[in-house]
Structure formats: C-alpha cells, structure tokens
C-alpha cells in the first residue's frame, strides 16, 4: 500500500513541475508586464524602462524560470514586484483566512451532503429522493454570485441580521467570527453541497445493484443497515474524490465569494496579482492551489484504498 502512496506522491510532484512550467509560460504570454501595469496611463518609455531595469525583467525567460524554480525548491517564494514585499509574508495571512473559510464551510457542507445523499439513496424514487434531487439540481444551476447577492439583499440590507461584508477585524468571540462569516459560508455551502450529495447518491445506488446487496436483501437485512454497513464502504472511492475536488475548490476557486464579501483570501490575491502583472505572486498562488489539489486527491485516494482493500495492490 505504501508503494501506491509513494507512486502517487511521485506523480504529484511531476504534476507540480509541469504546472510550474505552464504557469510560468502562461504568465509570460500575457500582454504587458508589471512595469506597464504599475504605471497604467502614466507610463512613459523612460518610466517603464526604469522599472524594468529595477526588477530585472529584461533577462531571458529561461534564466528567470530557472532562478524562480531553484528559489522555490529552497522554499523562497520571492518578492512581490508590485508591493515590493516578501511573498511569503503577504500570503501567510491570506492563506490562513482562506483555510478558515474553507474548513468552516467543509464542516457544514460535507456532513450535510453525505446525509442528503444517503437519505436520497435509501429509497430511490421516494419523496426524500425527489426532494434532494430537485433541490440539488436547482442549486447546481444557480450561479454562486446570484446566491451571494440574494443572501446579502435579504439578510444584510433588508433584515440587517448579518453583515454584508466580512470584517477581518479583531474578533472578541467565536460567535462574532461565525456571524461575520455566516453569509459566505452559506453561499459556498449551497454551491458545493449539491455536487457532493448527488455523487453520494449515485455511488450508493450504483453499489446497491450489485449481487451481494441483493443477497443481503434476500437475507432480510434492514434497508438502513444495508446502506450504511454494506453499500457505503464500497461507495467511498468516488465520494471521497468528489469531496476532495470540492475542498480544493474551496481553497482555490472562491474568488467570487471573496469579492462579493470583501474577504481577504488567497484567490482574490491571485486575481489582483494577475491584473497587476505581479508574476512571482501569481506563480506562488498558482503553486499553492495546485499543491492543494494534489494533496486532497492524494488523501482521497488513500482513504479509498483504506476503505476498499481490493485497491491496495497496484495492477
């Protein structure tokens, strides 16, 4: 089993390297550079050249890539071109915020999704199943920004129960933190729960058609016990993978929610960095997001293997 994990880890590292190449190439072909982006309308050829010289932007791309990669391997993310600050310093606070929001959302969304999926799979075609199916389809088709805007309109502007934006000020209590983050968590939950619930339902229903389940039914095992003891473990593989993908999304893809609620997270930082052509910062964010994806998928694979001994031997 450790061999499988090691192989996955190795593949993950290769993926990271390929991503680093893609990210670097992608940032190279963007029109303009940080000098032009910083100066905007006030760019004169001399001013642009001065900034380019200062930031050593005139060296060949290959040299800059090699430099960047070696520094990265040493754990040095470099210095932001636009802010002239250590990137690690800029990212640390933002990354913490992202993790807080992602983990609080996951703590609500994952159990909720599993419960919905299981409830629906218990009696396919029944009333609960139809309710879950319709509501998840609805949530999947409504865009995130719409949900966010509606929640703000109702709970912040009209009822004034909850703040319209998140303050990242000093919190006096956990309750205050929850109050401040309630709307973003709710928005994100609605957008990830549907995906996970539907996958849980589909995976379990799929397993429920296997002969061994039929055997259990014939033995007279109660329905709930069949689903929880017999079917669930064989359905874990696809379910944890979907959960992993959604968790990675919570870490990297929540730029809309961060924008709407003015939440200082990592995704927004990356978008800002792109618009300022702050390449080292873009690259650092991209690498963090990619690492998050690879880690989550790796954990999902390990969990799937633990739940299903048949996956332990590489074929």
């Amino acid at each position: 089993m450790w061999l499988v994990v090691l192989r996955r880890l190795g593949l993950g590292i290769i993926t990271l390297w390929v991503v680093s190449l893609l990210v670097f190439a992608g940032t190279e072909i963007l029109p303009g550079d940080v000098a032009e982006a910083i100066l905007g309308q006030s760019a004169t050829p001399e001013a642009v050249q001065a900034i380019r010289d200062q930031l050593h932007l005139d060296r060949p791309a290959v040299v800059r890539y090699a430099d960047w990669l070696t520094n990265l391997l040493r754990g040095d993310l470099g210095v932001s071109l636009a802010a002239n600050m250590e990137i690690s310093e800029m990212i640390s606070g933002r990354f913490k915020n992202t993790l807080v929001l992602a983990s609080l959302t996951a703590a609500l969304a994952v159990p909720l999704a599993l419960a919905m999926g299981l409830a629906a799979a218990m009696f396919p075609g029944g009333r609960v199943d139809r309710l879950v199916t319709i509501s998840t389809l609805f949530l999947l088709s409504v865009p995130e920004f719409f949900i966010a805007a509606t929640l703000v309109l109702v709970f912040a502007v009209h009822l004034q129960w909850l703040p319209a934006i998140t303050y990242m000020t000093e919190y006096e209590s956990v309750w205050q933190l929850m109050e401040s983050l309630a709307l973003p968590i709710l928005t994100l939950t609605t957008s990830v729960v549907a995906h996970m619930a539907r996958m849980t339902r589909a995976a379990i229903i799929n397993v429920m058609t296997s002969p061994y389940i039929e055997m259990a039914i014939l033995k007279g095992v109660p329905r709930g016990r069949i689903v929880l003891r017999h079917a669930l473990f064989n359905a874990v593989g696809p379910v944890v993978n979907v959960i992993a993908l959604n968790l990675a999304y919570l870490v990297s893809g929540v730029v809309i929610v961060e924008t709407v609620f003015a939440y200082p997270g990592l995704a927004k930082l990356m978008v800002d960095a792109v618009s300022r052509r702050d390449m080292p910062l873009v690259q650092a964010c991209a690498m963090i997001f990619c690492t998050a994806y690879i880690l989550f998928i790796l954990i999902a694979d390990v969990l799937a293997i633990l739940a299903n001994p048949r996956l332990r031997e590489p074929k």
Binding site: P31, G32, A43, A50, A83, A164, A262, R276
Partner: protein
C-alpha cells in the same frame, strides 16, 4: 454709506464674490481662505475687510467627538503603501490624510491653505519661495518638526530610487535651503506661480528627515497607525498630540477597500460602513431610496474624452476633428451616461471649478449641420473611422463611443467602435491608434494639467498636438503672479485647444461618493473622491 462701502456692496453683487460669500457664511470656508480668494479676484485688502465684516458666519454645528469610522474605498491591493511618494490611489490618499500633513493643503477652491507651513512668500518672478513652518509640531514619534524634515520630504521625490509618482511635479525644484529651524527656501529652475499648490499634493507629505521605512506611517497627522495590512485594511487611532486645536473628532478609523461596487454599496446600505468612495451613477436611485444614506456629489474636472491624434491620418485634418467635436451631443451624454452628474465640457480640459477656467469661450453645441460641413471639407463624407475604446479608458468611455457612432450615422459618417481589452489598453491602444477614448483626472492647477497633457514635448500628450504659441503661454503663466494677467494667459491657451486641439471633451464628470447621514463635517474638494480624501481631519459621527 461711505464710498468704499458702496464699492464693497457693488462687488458682492458680482457672481464670483457672491458665491464665495455664501460659502464663507455657511462656514464651509475659513475667513482666511475667503480673504485670499477675494485677493485672487483682484480685490484690495481694505475692501475685502469690509466684505468680510458684512458677511456674518452661520453658527456651525458643534462637532461631536468619539466613535469609530468604518469607511471603504474601491480599488486596493497588495501594493497599498504608507510611503507618501508612492501614493497613487484613493485607498492610499485616505491613509496619507490620516497619518501625515503637507506643507500646504489644497482647499475647495483649489487654493493652497496653510498646513505645516504657516505662511509663504515668493520673490518677484516666482523663482524662489520661502516657507515659514509652524512651531511646536511633533511627529508621532515625538520628534519636533523642523525645516530639515520638510526639505528631505520634498527632495525624496527627485531621487530615482524612491520611484515617486509625483516626481514630475517637483522636477522644477533646483535646490532647497534651510535658512533656520523653521524657515525653508526653495529655489526653482524656472518660475512657478503655483508652487504652494504643488506642495499640497497627496504625495507631498512631510516625514522625519532620513526616513526610509514607512511601515509605521511616521507623520504628524491627526491619526496614528495601529495596524496596516496591504490589500486588507488599516486601523488608525486619534493622535492626542495633534497640533490642530480640537481635531480630529473621531477616535478611530478603519479604512479598507471593497473592490466590487455592489458589495461596497450593500455594506453601506446595511450599515457596515459609514462612507464609501466611487458611486456608480446607476446606483444613485438606490442610495436615494434609503433614508439613512446620502449621495455626495462633488463638481470636479475629471473627464472622459475622444482623442484624435494630430500627427497621423485621417485625424491630422482639423476639419475632421471639428466635425467630431460638433457631433458631441453634450447634453444628451451628460443626461444619459452620467445621469446629470457633471458639467458640459467645451473641448478643452479646464473645468468650471478651476479658478483659471475661461468662461469667455462660447460653448460648442451639438450641430450636425456644421459637423457635416466640416466633414465635407475634410473630404471624409461617407467615410469610415474606427474608434478604440475600453472600460478602463474612463467612466462611460464605451457609452460615449456608442453615442458618437449613433450621431455620426445621421450625417453619413460610419464609426466602427472597437472594444479593446483593459489589459494593455494604455500601452497598445492609447497614444497609438488615430482615434481612441481616454480619461483624465483633474489636476490641482490649470498649468499642471495643460503642461502634462498638451505641451508639445509632453510624454502624455495623447493627441500629439503641437502648438508653439501654446507652449509659450504656459511658460508665461508660470511666471505671472498677477491674477488678471494669469487669467488672460490661460484663456488664450484654452481657446487654442478648443479650436484646434486633438481632444473632444463632451463633459466633466462629478465625483460621486456616498455616506451615512450620521457623517457630518464633510467638505468637498474637487481634486478627488471623498473631498480629495481630506475627510479624516474634518468629519465626525453624529448619534
């Protein structure tokens, strides 16, 4: 009634004087500012004294002390800074006014008022200026302010390594001489009658001599820094040792950015913030629909314009440029695109709020017949031109281009509107294509605006318009300290641009901000959003 009193009475009937008097009486303007404005109009000190005596000031509301102000700007990011030399956006300017002072402060009439300098005096030809500094002012660190600090702070901008965004403004400074602890003499390379105004710019804040680390915002300003996270927020608390008697009124300011306009507005409507900069004209109705918040509209000089490059075909033909200028349906643009929040423009960049605005140039109206006439003379009847635009070019830039397309089609001129991506617009489109949309913020003096964007060798001369007489006029204007002569000089300069220039400026756009009705003491200054960011020292929270 004595002869002098009669003259003074007659003068107050004059519209300029009357509007100044109204402002003074509503306590929106200090006595000192009132007198200096009267002097700028050529009114003698003794007459000014009579006018002031005849203008009793309304009792201003008593400011209430205390409370935390939460306010939000729009654009912000990881490059937010506390280094005054690198200030370049509202989020930074707001911090500048919290933590620092300049030598002068620019008031609502674009006149320099004393800040850390108590008074100043030019020599006869405006090539030397002596500033007397205020005594007994201390930096947040406890160090006393002296002339060395002021000199260092201004000279920093000239240092290439500092990367000052205001370098061009002080390039005229030849040297600064510390005459004594509180007297500083600037020798200029060429005359500049507006020098005190330049020292009131956002970036010209005074820091202790030798400062290179600005992370503590080591100024003399009304607030001290408690916390600063670039791209997130800053927290400021009252400077108990502040030199302006009784000020500031707030205990704390939490100042941050909310990039998304709707999110910013929702935060204001929900009561999470008390003030926001940058309101979209489309959202005015929404703000007016709430009893707790108000729109603050500041007449200003920012504009979104058509640029027509005069050094290449087909826009090198002034007949074609005139045709485009006559096609500007100014009133319609102002009403539909800017919802009436602005003033009509007259194809020259100095707005009516500027003391040097020339109201003698007849307003160019919308006139398709004249446009057709000039179009024929240009030999472009039935022709096609391509106008480049982008949302980053300026507020309403895309709408203005579409409006022109519609008006042009009526006289048989086909306009292709090309929307370019915002990324790279300033490097690939602006100043490169013959016809493009552009946008300009107001500059503190007419001379700065005209020098930056219209002189023959200016890097930002977007239309590459060149006129030797115009260049000569600006040089004359810089050297003149006589208000009447200055006005004549700038009037001629504005006329030249209006008649032959490469820009069509259909209107000037107001700055629109919004704030809670609890916010009192706000003073509009036309130089930028939120009263040119000067609110920290003047506002208080009621109730």
């Amino acid at each position: 009634m004595s002869e002098k009193k009669k003259i003074a009475h007659a003068l107050t009937q004059h519209s300029d004087v009357a509007s100044l008097k109204a402002l003074y009486q509503s306590a929106a303007m200090s006595r000192r500012a009132f007198v200096s404005r009267l002097a700028a109009l050529g009114i003698s000190t003794s007459l000014a004294g009579i006018i002031v005596a005849g203008s009793p000031v309304a009792v201003a509301a008593t400011p209430k002390r205390g409370g935390r102000m939460r306010a939000a700007a729009g654009a912000h990011g990881p490059d937010d800074t506390l280094d005054p030399a690198r200030f370049n956006s509202v989020i930074n300017y707001g911090r500048g006014e919290q933590f620092y002072n300049g030598l002068t402060r620019i008031d609502g009439f674009l006149v320099a008022q004393p800040d850390l300098a108590e008074s100043w005096e030019p020599n006869g030809d405006a090539t030397e200026w002596v500033f007397k500094l205020r005594k007994g002012v201390e930096f947040h660190s406890g160090k006393s302010l002296d002339a060395e600090d002021a000199l260092y702070s201004i000279q920093r901008h000239l240092n290439k390594d500092v990367g000052s965004s205001a370098k061009a403004f002080v390039a005229n400074v030849a040297e600064g001489i510390v005459e004594n602890k509180h007297t500083l003499r600037f020798k200029l390379k060429g005359p500049d009658a507006d020098f005190p105004v330049i020292l009131g710019l956002y970036q010209m804040k005074i820091v202790p001599v030798g400062t290179t680390d600005f992370s503590t915002a080591p100024g003399t300003g009304p607030f001290k820094l408690k916390e600063f996270k670039p791209g997130v927020r800053s927290l400021a608390h009252r400077n108990e040792n502040y030199w302006e008697e009784g000020r500031p009124y707030l205990d704390e300011i939490e100042w941050f950015g909310i990039s998304d306009h709707n999110a910013r507005m929702n935060a204001l409507l929900a009561g999470d913030i008390s003030m926001m900069s940058g309101l979209d004209p489309k959202a005015i109705a929404k703000i007016n629909g709430s009893a707790d918040v108000r729109v603050v509209n500041t007449k200003a000089g920012q504009y979104t314009n058509f640029a027509m490059m005069t050094d290449r075909a087909p826009s090198d033909n002034n007949e074609l440029r005139l045709a485009i200028k006559y096609l500007q349906n100014r009133e319609r643009i102002l009403k539909l695109i800017y919802k009436g929040n602005g003033m009509l423009g007259n194809d020259q960049p100095i707005s009516p709020v500027d003391p040097m605005y020339c109201d003698e140039i007849p307003m160019r109206g919308y006139d398709p017949d004249k446009a057709k006439h000039h179009l024929k003379k240009a030999g472009m009847d039935g022709g096609t031109i391509k106008v480049h635009t982008s949302e980053v070019a300026g507020t309403g830039a895309i709408e203005q281009a579409l409006m022109l397309q519609r008006e042009a089609s009526k006289i048989g001129l086909k306009i292709e509107v090309q929307r370019d991506p915002g990324d790279g617009y300033w490097s690939a489109t602006w100043g490169k294509k013959p016809f493009f949309m552009s946008g300009w913020n107001m500059r503190p003096t007419a001379n700065i605006m005209l020098t930056l964007a219209f002189t023959s060798d200016a890097a930002w001369n977007e239309a590459k318009w060149k006129n030797p007489r115009f260049d000569e006029l600006l040089t004359l204007g810089r050297a003149s300290l006589d208000p009447v002569q200055r006005k004549n000089i700038y009037c001629e300069a504005q006329t030249l641009i209006q008649q032959t220039g490469g820009v069509a400026i259909p209107c000037f756009i107001d700055y629109l901000d919004a704030m809670s009705n609890k916010v009192k003491g706000f003073e509009p200054v036309p130089l930028g959003p939120l009263g040119a960011s000067q609110w920290p020292r003047s506002v208080w929270l009621e109730g």
